[in-house]
């Protein structure tokens, strides 16, 4: 029983337990922070992948495959399948309107049926503009509303967007526009948010709305139809209206992909059903060429294992081939895992590497804790001798130090958890602060130091003089006075600095631009923000592990303490 009493007393009285606790805290916090941010990045990447990819994809080469309606119906009948959606995938060009001349970019074009697509992947939630973030944009266009020229592009955009906004849910409207074959004013297109290079992220990771010149504007889409035999035909161009942007979070995708209505792309690529024409005579043969699609995306029902779904779809495809011999050899069926094996393996590799790093870090933490405990034991050797002399057993002494390690471990780990949570959840704010306000902060800190250090130096001299002249004086009162003076000087300095900077904003701007530390550039990286969540799973293993490490770290010193000879310990200086 005396043990607990001694542990608690040692905790309160010495600087050593603070150091030990600090060591545990820092190690716990470090592991959690690194784990959260590294793991967060990987999760964001895989999450983005899963937002983009159906569970199982059935696809053909770029010429596409016929009888997709029949296949689609077959898939939808499978008990394993929740939804399926046809897609046409092609490549082409978009030409964006510019100040002086149009800019043209190569893109991957997906012709989609948004209603069914949204059942297969969360398409609607990847649409970037919704009622609240588009409204401020429309408000900015307001001044153009009453422009004289009826064809002024900004005026047209204003009215288009305003009209859409007034129809209620902006995203749902996007889905409707993308779903209908011939909407007004022109067929719809949804572009990856990074396709338009003017769409830049600022240092906060936000898209600068004013530079976005595409949403609500017409752009030109050009595709190259490929005949069923793989022959390129004359390019097809159409004017389409950008009804929304989409953002998956993966830069490569957001930079290259656009979505248009399935029917539109099908007809532009001449993949619709058509009467067959005899090449030699130029006359219809009386047969029809079936309409084509290039892939079917399939989503499994909840709880159905991916492999089982894969097998069911494959089986269904085999049956379809029996019915339609012209499908033979054209279709491949793959799961999202297979399609992204390289990436997923890289992620797994990364995790393994991180685990290895943690093994090393844990070892360092362990040694650190063991060292601190060793020093505590040294410091307490005489007490150990006393307790042993008073009749405490070896187990009792070991118990004291193990219990000490346990309590320090618990407190340190919990503090570390608190620090990690505070840092990780605010990491983006910290990032912004370092990138944008470090300059002014440095100015204030420098100002305070420039004022405070000389004042403190003078006070030190005064203190020394007072002490000599009034040896029986009241140091507490002097200290209070001096602290007061220092505080007043500091406040005056702060107020002065604030007042000065207020009138010299260019200095503030210059400072912030010159002195800044960008640990992360949201405007250039693939992802627009730093992951800022600590996973409960990570907490669930890191915190107990730190506690265990702390107890293990105290084990060797505890054994050492227990084995001390009481007389030797008493003689220890």
């Amino acid at each position: 029983m005396y043990k607990l009493q001694i542990i608690l007393r040692y905790l309160r009285r010495r600087i050593m337990p603070l150091i030990a606790m600090l060591a545990v805290m820092l190690c716990t916090a470090m592991v959690l922070i690194v784990l959260s941010i590294m793991g967060g990045f990987l999760n964001m990447m895989t999450g983005a992948l899963q937002r983009l990819e159906a569970d199982v994809t059935v696809e053909a080469d770029i010429t596409g495959f016929p009888h997709y309606e029949a296949l689609l119906a077959d898939f939808q009948k499978l008990p394993e399948v929740a939804a399926a959606s046809p897609v046409i995938r092609s490549f082409g060009l978009v030409s964006l309107p510019g100040e002086t001349q149009r800019a043209t970019y190569p893109v991957e074009i997906l012709g989609v049926d948004p209603a069914s697509l949204n059942q297969v992947v969360p398409f609607e939630s990847t649409l970037f503009w919704h009622a609240s973030n588009i409204r401020q944009w429309v408000d900015l266009l307001q001044p153009f509303a009453d422009q004289e020229a009826p064809n002024d592009p900004q005026r047209l955009r204003y009215h288009t967007l305003k009209g859409w906004l007034d129809q209620g849910s902006f995203r749902q409207l996007t889905m409707a526009l993308l779903g209908s074959d011939m909407p007004k004013p022109a067929p719809a297109i949804v572009m990856g948010i990074e396709v338009n290079p003017q769409n830049i992220r600022d240092v906060y990771g936000h898209y600068d709305i004013l530079n976005n010149r595409t949403i609500g504007s017409p752009v030109t889409l050009t595709v190259l139809p490929i005949s069923e035999h793989g022959m390129p035909q004359d390019p097809e161009a159409r004017e389409v209206t950008v009804v929304n942007d989409f953002k998956s979070g993966l830069y490569e995708i957001d930079r290259n992909r656009v979505f248009v209505p399935f029917k539109l792309l099908q007809s532009m690529l001449k993949m619709t059903a058509a009467p067959q024409i005899n090449m030699d005579t130029g006359k219809p043969t009386g047969r029809t060429i079936a309409a084509r699609a290039s892939m079917i995306l399939v989503k499994g029902k909840a709880g159905v294992p991916l492999e089982q779904l894969h097998e069911a779809v494959r089986h269904s495809v085999r049956r379809a081939i029996a019915d339609y011999p012209d499908l033979n050899g054209r279709l491949s069926v793959s799961t999202w895992r297979e399609r992204h094996e390289k990436f997923l393996n890289a992620v797994a590799n990364e995790r393994n590497l991180v685990t290895f790093l943690f093994a090393v870090i844990s070892l360092v933490a362990f040694v650190m804790i063991a060292l601190v405990f060793y020093m505590i034991v040294l410091e307490k050797t005489r007490d150990i001798g006393v307790l042993r002399a008073l009749g405490a057993g070896q187990l009792g002494i070991a118990g004291i130090f193990l219990g000490y390690g346990l309590i320090i471990g618990i407190l340190g780990a919990l503090l570390g958890l608190a620090v990690a949570l505070a840092i990780v959840t605010n990491i983006n704010q910290i990032q912004t602060f370092l990138a944008t306000h470090l300059g002014v902060t440095t100015f204030y800190v420098g100002l305070e130091l420039a004022l405070g250090v000389p004042v403190a130096a003078v006070e030190a001299v005064v203190w020394w003089r007072l002490k000599r002249r009034y040896p029986d004086g009241r140091p507490g009162v002097w200290a209070a006075w001096m602290a007061g003076v220092l505080a007043v000087v500091g406040l005056i300095g702060l107020a002065g600095g604030f007042w000065y900077l207020h009138d010299h904003t260019s200095l503030a701007t210059w400072l912030d631009a010159t002195i800044s530390w960008e640990m992360w550039r949201p405007d250039v990286y693939y992802l627009d923000r730093i992951p800022s969540q600590v996973a409960p799973v990570d907490i669930a293993w890191v915190v107990p592990l730190s506690i265990v490490c702390s107890v293990l770290g105290s084990l060797i010193p505890a054994i050492m303490a227990a084995r001390l000879n009481p007389v030797e310990a008493l003689r220890y200086e």
Binding site: M1, Q5, R12, D383, L387, L390, V567
Partner: protein, 232 residues
């Protein structure tokens, strides 16, 4: 038989070597000693003669190189570790040459710790209040009633030694082993401690006291001299 009963502590052929590097320091060279029940025995000796060493062996703090110590006829170094721990805690009260109080604990707690060592957690929870009360009374009896909450650093040498004495007495030991109890004190405070020991002795406490000071030793019933590693 009657004599065996009255010998509470008996040492036979005690040898103690210290090995310092290659050198062998033969401090005790066959000490024989019998402490009778209720007597006050003083062991005199020059500094470095091995008085503390002998007392440590009697108190079970250290093991002899050769020879044995019997407590009421039982060899203490043949006991299990646990039994020896209990012997130190329950049968022996040790007053050190240099107080050796726990610096983080108040006077009262320093005494209570000694009482708390042997009992199990459960039984301690039951008796804690009473034992604290006893410790406070004991300290009050030694003139420290006003100093219960003070830490050792805030106490004078004499006060510290009295706390150490209270700590040694709290478990009502069969033998009080006092190593130079007055050695670090001025004559007056040393005298106070001696008076306390005298009171204890009158109440029947067996005391073995080590000192290098003849004037202190006269208070005892019997004096032995430790010379060249033997008692004479």
């Amino acid at each position: 038989m009657a004599e065996a009963r009255s010998d509470i502590l008996r040492a036979t052929g005690l040898h103690k070597h210290y090995r310092l590097g290659g050198e062998d320091l033969h401090v005790l060279r066959g000490v024989d000693l019998a402490v009778r029940h209720g007597e006050w025995l003083a062991i005199l000796g020059a500094s470095g003669s091995g008085k503390s060493t002998l007392l440590h062996l009697l108190g079970g703090l250290d093991r002899p190189s050769r020879g044995e110590v019997q407590f009421t006829g039982q060899s203490i170094f043949a006991m299990s570790n646990g039994a020896l721990d209990r012997y130190r805690n329950q049968q022996v009260g040790f007053v050190f040459q240099f107080y050796h109080l726990l610096p983080e604990f108040s006077a009262l707690e320093n005494v209570v710790v000694s009482a708390a060592i042997t009992p199990s957690t459960l039984s301690w929870l039951r008796m804690r209040r009473q034992r604290r009360q006893e410790a406070a009374e004991l300290l009050a009896r030694l003139g420290l009633g006003e100093r219960l909450k003070h830490r050792p650093a805030k106490l004078s040498g004499g006060e510290r030694q009295r706390v150490a004495l209270a700590r040694a007495l709290i478990n009502q030991p069969a033998v009080l082993l006092a190593d130079e109890p007055t050695g670090n004190l001025d004559a007056q405070t040393g005298g106070q401690i001696l008076d306390l020991l005298r009171d204890l002795h009158r109440q029947g406490q067996t005391i073995v006291m080590v000192t290098h000071d003849e004037k202190v030793a006269v208070a005892a019933d019997r004096r032995l001299h430790l010379e060249a590693g033997r008692l004479v």
